[in-house]
Each structure stands twice: as structure tokens, then as C-alpha cells.
């Protein structure tokens, strides 16, 4: 009886302290990403996605890393290969979680990567698509700070292009910061980040628009 009890306790404590394979995998993938091992991180997220077929997060991150790492590329063949792959990941995430504002924002980021590469070629069709994406995301999640932040960044970009003042957008950034601070972080591995970027933009925004 004693030994049974002992085993039971052992098993119990073991499972308490041990991570599930999901947590272990996700932590490992984030660590790889942090070390700039993008390919390995994408591959691990892809594997986790293949095991966790009802969780959108691993596919979402696999797509996000491909998108972020394609900015600044000079080779169009590589760019389209990476972004096509990224789109596949996002499509998979979107089929698990429909109308997800975080995924919608990532689709807009994907388009932005194409536009940044060649605005003349991709700008006309994709910028309209982006506006529609942000509009949809904002209507689904009006209080999502990342939606507000990316939408405002996009608007600021086009305002700058047309030589208009970006002053009116500073307050939207501040609003996003407020939303970030209020946000309850309950879901593990959910992409809550963005506060620091918002603060950076806010300070540069104020610098640019201040009279002196």
C-alpha cells in the first residue's frame, strides 16, 4: 500500500512539474526564434501544428516568422516562395480559427511585405486589400490593441506618402497603448506583444509633430 501511494505521489508530482509536449514544443520554438534561428523555429511550429490540429497558434507563428523574415529580401523568387509558404500557414490557422483579428492583421502584414518589395507592381491591388482587412479586423475586435496599432501604422504610412500631417494618428497610438495595458493576458502563447513597439512609435510620433 505504501509503495502504491508513493508511486501515485511520484506520478502526480511529476505531471505537475512537467510541461506538456505542447508547452515544451512552443517554448522551444520561441527560444529558436529569439536566437534568430528562423528556419528551425518555423519547422518546429510547423511540426507542432501538424500534431495540434485544432490550435491556430503554431501555424500562425510559422506564418508570422516567414513574413517578418522576408522584409528586406532582394530576390523576388525567394520572396514569393517564402510568402506563399506563409500564406499557406495563415490559411491553415484561419481555417481553425475563423475571423480571428490577429490572423487578419498578419494577412495585411503579408501584403505589406509584397508592397515593400515592389510598390508599383503590388501596391495597387494589395493596398486596397489591406484597408479591407484592417476594416474587418477592427469591426470584429474594436478593442484589440494590435489591430489598432497596425491599422494606425498603415494609415501613418500612407499619410506620410501624401505629405499629410500624422499628428492625428498619435492619439490612436496612445489609445492602443492604453488598450495594451488594459489587456488581460489569459491564453498561453497568445501573441499579446506589441506594447513596446507602440511606445516607440508614440514617442517618435510626438517628436515629429511637436512644433520645435
Amino acid at each position: 500500500m505504501k509503495s502504491v501511494l508513493l508511486i501515485a505521489t511520484l506520478i502526480f508530482t511529476f505531471s505537475l512539474s512537467a510541461q506538456t509536449p505542447y508547452e515544451k514544443g512552443m517554448n522551444e520554438a520561441f527560444a529558436l526564434w529569439e536566437q534568430q534561428k528562423n528556419t528551425e523555429a518555423v519547422q518546429l511550429f510547423e511540426r507542432i501544428a501538424s500534431a495540434e490540429t485544432d490550435n491556430w497558434l503554431p501555424s500562425y507563428y510559422a506564418g508570422l516568422i516567414e513574413i517578418v523574415s522576408s522584409f528586406g529580401l532582394k530576390d523576388e523568387a525567394l520572396l514569393t516562395s517564402k510568402l506563399t509558404r506563409a500564406k499557406g500557414f495563415l490559411d491553415n490557422a484561419a481555417s481553425i480559427s475563423e475571423n480571428n483579428p490577429e490572423i487578419l492583421v498578419s494577412y495585411a502584414l503579408l501584403n505589406t511585405a509584397y508592397i515593400a518589395f515592389d510598390g508599383q507592381k503590388y501596391g495597387m491591388s494589395l493596398s486596397g486589400e489591406n484597408v479591407a482587412l484592417y476594416k474587418k479586423a477592427a469591426s470584429i475586435a474594436p478593442n484589440n490593441p494590435r489591430v489598432l496599432l497596425s491599422k494606425t501604422e498603415w494609415d501613418m504610412g500612407s499619410a506620410k506618402f501624401f505629405g499629410k500631417s500624422i499628428a492625428s494618428y498619435c492619439k490612436d497610438i496612445d489609445q492602443a497603448i492604453l488598450l495594451f495595458e488594459k489587456e488581460e493576458q489569459t491564453i498561453p502563447f497568445y501573441p499579446y506583444s506589441g506594447l513596446e513597439r507602440a511606445k516607440e512609435i508614440s514617442s517618435s510620433c510626438k517628436k515629429e509633430t511637436s512644433p520645435n
Binding site: A51, T53, K74, Y122
Partner: protein, 717 residues
């Protein structure tokens, strides 16, 4: 305690026994190792990436039947299901992904425009912001090599072919009357508004078996599948007004465009060399309805109505008072298409297009009424056997009914014909590797009018020689029934035909494109007749023949100069024909030996403006001088035109647009007209045919109203 120890040992040993190793090597098709490929068991966390020498090895607790997946960028994903014990020391060869941007494309004869193509000769905005094009997509295409500048006509003349040898298709369906009618010596414009299309494929020869009844060229337009947003667009121009509106619903959308053009005020300000009794007035409306079905199915219905009305007197050397020409035309065009993806990698595309065109023409004292009803029915299937092998086949039926009533003071007659044609085609796209691909097809056509069956084989081959360059070859036979102008008087013809041979070299590197293409075309069974004009009383036969050969060169650079894009085209054409009423084989008057154009666009950030310039050159075209005898032996002077445009973004939604064609006012000559009789000195007098006006000015203000404050009508210009 003993039990515990026993249990622990058992667990441990079970673990030992159940763990297996998956290992092996990943290589490309040549056996060279692939580094960084992802290798894993589907549905598990177990996997790794390959090392520098392509090797991989990982442990797994999985047992029994498993699926091993291997993926790497620019390769096809490999997948194999087997017992886990079989995945030890395996060698996996990944196939090249042939759908990547750096794979070979079968492209001899073809230019792509729009953002749907791998290599775009023209970008979406180019279609409409090319100086001199004046918002007509045909104008932008005329800056590509292979086209001849025929300033007084405005239509597409490709590689020694006349304008009727080019057919236009929207979403795979034929457009029967793509150009607005115009008077002699006044260029006609395309009826289709350019902003309805997102992709354009312009083939100057050797095209797919899916298309027929075009001896020289096909222009394929894809309409927008889904508009991005609801908006209203207002245009105020020196020549008229335009209004557009787009509405979107959950699964469907509707776009409407209307335009009213009246050249009366313009012609008051800048009179040209015609005497206008009724300056050109046109009213047009277009509607596109799109509906998305749950399963990827997409229905598009496009309808367009336009009416054109004008009346003028044009100078003529043989008629002292000039020739009076009046036209009332109305045109209805409906194009509906449906596309869907079916099970097992099949897809279907089907559609119907219909055109009703009625023209009332007044030519001096003659009244002519032409009515043309045409329809095109089509069904096509595609099967994707793999990314390397696709099959496309289908059937089509073309119906044309044409009637003409001719009436003058002394004569009246009716002419009518039915030109119905059944055709079917089958074509395969095969990738042998990432470097070698072919497209091979055959098309059969039966014409009820000519009672004739023709078989046209088509073949293209492309080989990628280096990272940036590729060679392509194409061959094809093309048939086309004689045009309405002859069929209304006679139907005892065989179909006109050509054979194309094309060799192409293309070099694409980082926003630079170089392309050179040589071709040879052999014409047969062209229509001949024995009178100065095609008349009901002429004697007709199909004994004409001809050839065209030449070289087309294209260079586009979007990289070397910041904020500036430019492209250059040069075409060399050597062609002769013996057709129509030609006495001997000669170069037709629409063909010029050398054609060149240069287009430059520069975006000026500080001014929020785009400035565009284009320069067109065409060497002199042939004409007949009866004073010298001979036939089409003389050469007119060359054609030169420098065009400029300027687009200013007042605010993101308001644009001011200015355009001037032939800025320098170069006196161009479209040809000469000789008197029928000699004058008292025994010389045939002549009249120089010049463009109606040397310059054309256009000023427009475009305003977009939508939720999206950045959207504008730049794409309409």
C-alpha cells in the same frame, strides 16, 4: 520497495524498446544534399532539420504505420507512409517545385501584364498611365514590340497582320466588337474600360490551342473577381463626364459605370481639319455582377451598352464638296462566365457571350444598315494530375448572323450570312523538370459556312539555360474565316491560315527584363478579288498568300534610376502579301519596317506627381503613286510622336490629370490620296492625309468617395 523498483525497470525497458530512430539523407534530383530541410512524422512533435550534408536522425516513441514528411523551400513536399521501422537510413530525393518564380515558363510569343504573372512586361498602372495611351488599354499595348503603329486606325496590328487578325477575349469568352466605330482617318478606341481588368495576356503569336479564329494575335483579359470595397467615382473631363459605383454584399458585388462623352465643346475650342455636323457623342454603361458560391464557384456577369453618334464631312480629292459620313451605332455585349473547382483536382470553366451591334451609316447619299448578332458558347475542363502535368480540354460554338441593307437613290439590296463554327481543343502542360517544360495541343474547327474542317496543332517548348535566362520555341497553325466585309458578298472560300515559327530568348533579373524574339509567319488562302473595292459584283477566290518575318526586342528597367521606370521596344518587320486586289506581292500599306517606342515614368515625391513621357517612331509606310507606275512602291515619311502626361495627387482621393499627345506638333502623314483622273498637265494630283489634329489635349479631374481614404482613380487614367 521491490515492486517499485520492478515497476521502474519495466517502464524504463518498455521505453527503451519502443523508441525507434528515423534517419537518412535528403538530396535534390541530382543527388546533391539539401541542408535545412524539415523532416518529421506527420501529427507528432518528432522531427528535425537536415544538416549541411543533408543528413537527419531523430528518435520517436511512435509505433506502427507513420507518415514521414520532408519539406524545403522551392522543392515539392515529400510524403511517405510506412511502418516506422522502415524509416531508417532512407535516402529521399526531393523534386523541384515547378511553381516557383525561378522555374521555367512557356512564354514564346506572350507578354503578361498585371500582377498575376511571373514576369510582367506591363504593370497594372502602366496600362492606364502610359503617355499617349489616353486611358485606352490598346494604347499601352502598342508600346510593346510586335505591334505596328497605324495612327489613323487605333487598333492592334500585330507582326504584319491586319487589325482583324487579333481577337480579344474576356474571361475566356470572345468579344465580338471590341472597338468603337469611328470615321475614316480617326483612330477608334477600345470599348472595354481598362479598370475592370486585373490581368492581361497579350500574345503576338504561337498561342494556346484554347484560342482560334485569330491569324496573328490574341489578347486575353481577366476581369476582377472581387472588388475590394464600396465606392463612388466621379470624373469630370474636357471631353465628358463619368460616374461609377461599386456595392459589395457578403457573397456578391455589383459595379456600375456610366460615361457621357461629347466632343462638341472641345472641337469648338480646337477645330480640326474635318467639318463636323455632329461631333462625336457617346453614352455608355457597364455593369459587372459577381456571385461567389459556397464551394469556390464564381459567377460573373458583365454587360455593356454603348451608343455612338456622329456626322461629318471629310475632304476628298475626287469629290469637291467632300464626303459626308454619318454613323449611329449601338452595341450591347453580355459576357457571363462560371468557374468552379471540382473533386479530384478537376476544374471547370464555362460561359456564354453575346453581342448585338447595329450601325446606321450614311455615306453621301447611301444609307447602310448593318446588324450583327454573335454568340460564343464554351465549356472547358482542367485536370491537375500533378504540379508537373496538367490537361486542359473543351468545346466551343460560335454563332454569327450578319445582315446588311444598302440603299441609295438608284439601288437597294440586302445581304446576309450565317457564320457558325464548332471547335474543340485539347492541350497538355508538361514540366519535365524545373528547367524544361512544354505545352502541346491541338484544335479542330468545323465551319458550317465554308463547309470545311481544319486541324491546328500547337507546340511550345521552354528551356531555362541559367538562373536568369531562358530559351523558348513555338510552332502553330492558325485558321480564320474571311472577314464580314467579304462574307456578306461571297462564301465560297477556304479559311485563311498562317503557320507561326517563333524563337525567343528572355533574361530577367531583379526588376530588369530583356527579351528578344524572332519569328516567321507563312500566310495561305488569303481572300482575293478583282475590283478596286470589295463589291457584290467582284469575283472572289482564296488564292492569296504572304509572309511576315522579323525580330522583336524589349527592354524594361525599373531599377537603375531611382523613382523612374522605363521600357524600350524595337520591332523589325519584313512582310509581303499578295491578297485583296493586289496586282503583285507587296508590303501592305499598314506595315512599317521599323517600329520603336520608349516610355518613361517618373514619380516625384515632393510634388506628389507622376510625369510620363512616351516616344513612338514608325518608319514610312508604302503607298502607290500612279504618276510613277508600280504598286505600293513609294514610301511616306516616318511617323514621330512625343507624348506627355502629368498626374497630380491633390489629396489621396482627388487627382488632376493632364495629357498631351504629340507635344512637338510633328506633322505626321497617314498617307496620300491620288486623283482618279490626271490634270491638264497629265499628272495625278494628290492630297496628303494628315491626322485630324496634330495634338490632342486632355484634362480630367477624378474624385473617389469611399471609406478608404487612400483609394483613388489613378488606375482609371
Amino acid at each position: 520497495m521491490k515492486t517499485l523498483l520492478f515497476l521502474l525497470i519495466t517502464f524504463f525497458s518498455i521505453n527503451l524498446f519502443s523508441q525507434s530512430t528515423v534517419s537518412g539523407k535528403v538530396t535534390d534530383s541530382k543527388g546533391l544534399p539539401i541542408m535545412g530541410a524539415s523532416v518529421y512524422l506527420e501529427g507528432t512533435y518528432d522531427g528535425t532539420a537536415t544538416s549541411e550534408d543533408g543528413l537527419f536522425s531523430f528518435e520517436t516513441d511512435e509505433q506502427g504505420e507513420q507518415t514521414l514528411l520532408v519539406s524545403s523551400i522551392s522543392f515539392e513536399t515529400y510524403s511517405k507512409s510506412s511502418d516506422i521501422t522502415n524509416f531508417k537510413n532512407v535516402t529521399i530525393k526531393l523534386k523541384d517545385d515547378v511553381n516557383t518564380l525561378d522555374a521555367v515558363t512557356v512564354n514564346a510569343g506572350t507578354f503578361n501584364a498585371g500582377d498575376n504573372a511571373k514576369v510582367t512586361a506591363l504593370k497594372p498602372l502602366d496600362i492606364v498611365t502610359t503617355a499617349g495611351a489616353l486611358g485606352d488599354f490598346v494604347g499601352a499595348l502598342q508600346t510593346l514590340p510586335g505591334t505596328s503603329n497605324v495612327a489613323e486606325d487605333g487598333r492592334l496590328f500585330v507582326r504584319g497582320g491586319d487589325a482583324e487578325e487579333t481577337q480579344i477575349f474576356v474571361d475566356g469568352m470572345r468579344v465580338f466588337t471590341p472597338y468603337s466605330p469611328s470615321a475614316n482617318n480617326i483612330p477608334s478606341r477600345g470599348r472595354l474600360s481598362p479598370f475592370l481588368f486585373k490581368g492581361i495576356t497579350f500574345s503576338t503569336g504561337g498561342y494556346s490551342a484554347e484560342y482560334g479564329q485569330a491569324l496573328s494575335s490574341v489578347l486575353l483579359l481577366n476581369s476582377i473577381s472581387e472588388p475590394q470595397e464600396e465606392k463612388t467615382e466621379i470624373s469630370i473631363m474636357t471631353v465628358g463626364l463619368g460616374l461609377g459605383n461599386t456595392q459589395k454584399w457578403k457573397k456578391s458585388s455589383l459595379s456600375l459605370n456610366t460615361s457621357y462623352i461629347n466632343l462638341a465643346p472641345y472641337q469648338k475650342l480646337y477645330p480640326d481639319n474635318n467639318e463636323w455636323h455632329k461631333p462625336i457623342e457617346s453614352v455608355g454603361g457597364e455593369a459587372v455582377y459577381r456571385y461567389k458560391f459556397n464551394n469556390d464557384g464564381l459567377l460573373k456577369v458583365y454587360g455593356a451598352y454603348s451608343s455612338v453618334n456622329f456626322d461629318l464631312t471629310q475632304e476628298d480629292i475626287n469629290v469637291a464638296d467632300g464626303i459626308r459620313f454619318g454613323l449611329k451605332n449601338r452595341n450591347l455585349y453580355i459576357n457571363s462566365s462560371y468557374q468552379d473547382f471540382l473533386e479530384k483536382d478537376w476544374s471547370i470553366a464555362t460561359g456564354v457571350s453575346f453581342a448585338n451591334d447595329r450601325s446606321e451609316i450614311k455615306y453621301n447619299d447611301a444609307d447602310i444598315t448593318d446588324i450583327e448578332n454573335s454568340a460564343h458558347l464554351k465549356i472547358a475542363f482542367k485536370k491537375f494530375f500533378s504540379s508537373r502535368y496538367k490537361l486542359n480540354f473543351g468545346a466551343e460554338y460560335f454563332v454569327t448572323n450578319f445582315t446588311e441593307n444598302y440603299q441609295d437613290t438608284s439601288f437597294e439590296n440586302d445581304y446576309e450570312f450565317d457564320n457558325n463554327l464548332f471547335s474543340s481543343f485539347v492541350e497538355a502542360d508538361i514540366f519535365f523538370s524545373k528547367k524544361l517544360a512544354t505545352k502541346i495541343g491541338i484544335r479542330g474547327e468545323y465551319s458550317e459556312l465554308l463547309q470545311e474542317f481544319n486541324l491546328s496543332p500547337r507546340l511550345s517548348l521552354a528551356y531555362k539555360a541559367g538562373a536568369n535566362s531562358q530559351f523558348s520555341l513555338a510552332y502553330g497553325e492558325f485558321f480564320q474565316n474571311p472577314k464580314n466585309d467579304y462574307l456578306k458578298y461571297n462564301s465560297d472560300f477556304t479559311a485563311e491560315n498562317t503557320t507561326h515559327y517563333i524563337a525567343n530568348y528572355q533574361y530577367v533579373k531583379n526588376k530588369q527584363i530583356f527579351r528578344a524574339e524572332a519569328y516567321y509567319k507563312n500566310y495561305g488562302d488569303l481572300v482575293k478579288y478583282d475590283t478596286p473595292f470589295a463589291l457584290p459584283t467582284s469575283t472572289y477566290n482564296s488564292n492569296g498568300s504572304g509572309y511576315a518575318k522579323g525580330l522583336d526586342i524589349f527592354w524594361r528597367d525599373n531599377k537603375s534610376i531611382k523613382n523612374t521606370e522605363y521600357w524600350m521596344s524595337y520591332s523589325y518587320l519584313d512582310t509581303e502579301r499578295e491578297y485583296q486586289n493586289y496586282l503583285t506581292s507587296a508590303t501592305p500599306e499598314f506595315a512599317s519596317k521599323h517600329n520603336a517606342s520608349l516610355v518613361v515614368k517618373r514619380w516625384i515625391e515632393d510634388w506628389k506627381s507622376q510625369i510620363g513621357l512616351s516616344y513612338n517612331y514608325a518608319s514610312g509606310r508604302n503607298y502607290t503613286d500612279p504618276n510613277k507606275g508600280g504598286f505600293l512602291t513609294e514610301q511616306a515619311k516616318s511617323f514621330n510622336s512625343l507624348n506627355a502626361n502629368y498626374a497630380y495627387l491633390i489629396s489621396p482621393q482627388k487627382i488632376l490629370y493632364l495629357s498631351v499627345s504629340n507635344v512637338l506638333g510633328t506633322k505626321n502623314v497617314n498617307g496620300y490620296q491620288y486623283a482618279n483622273q490626271t490634270n491638264t498637265d497629265g499628272v495625278f494630283d494628290r492630297r496628303t492625309i494628315t491626322p485630324a489634329a496634330d495634338r490632342f489635349f486632355f484634362i480630367g479631374f477624378f474624385w473617389t468617395i469611399s471609406d478608404n481614404k487612400d483609394d483613388n482613380q489613378l488606375d482609371n487614367l
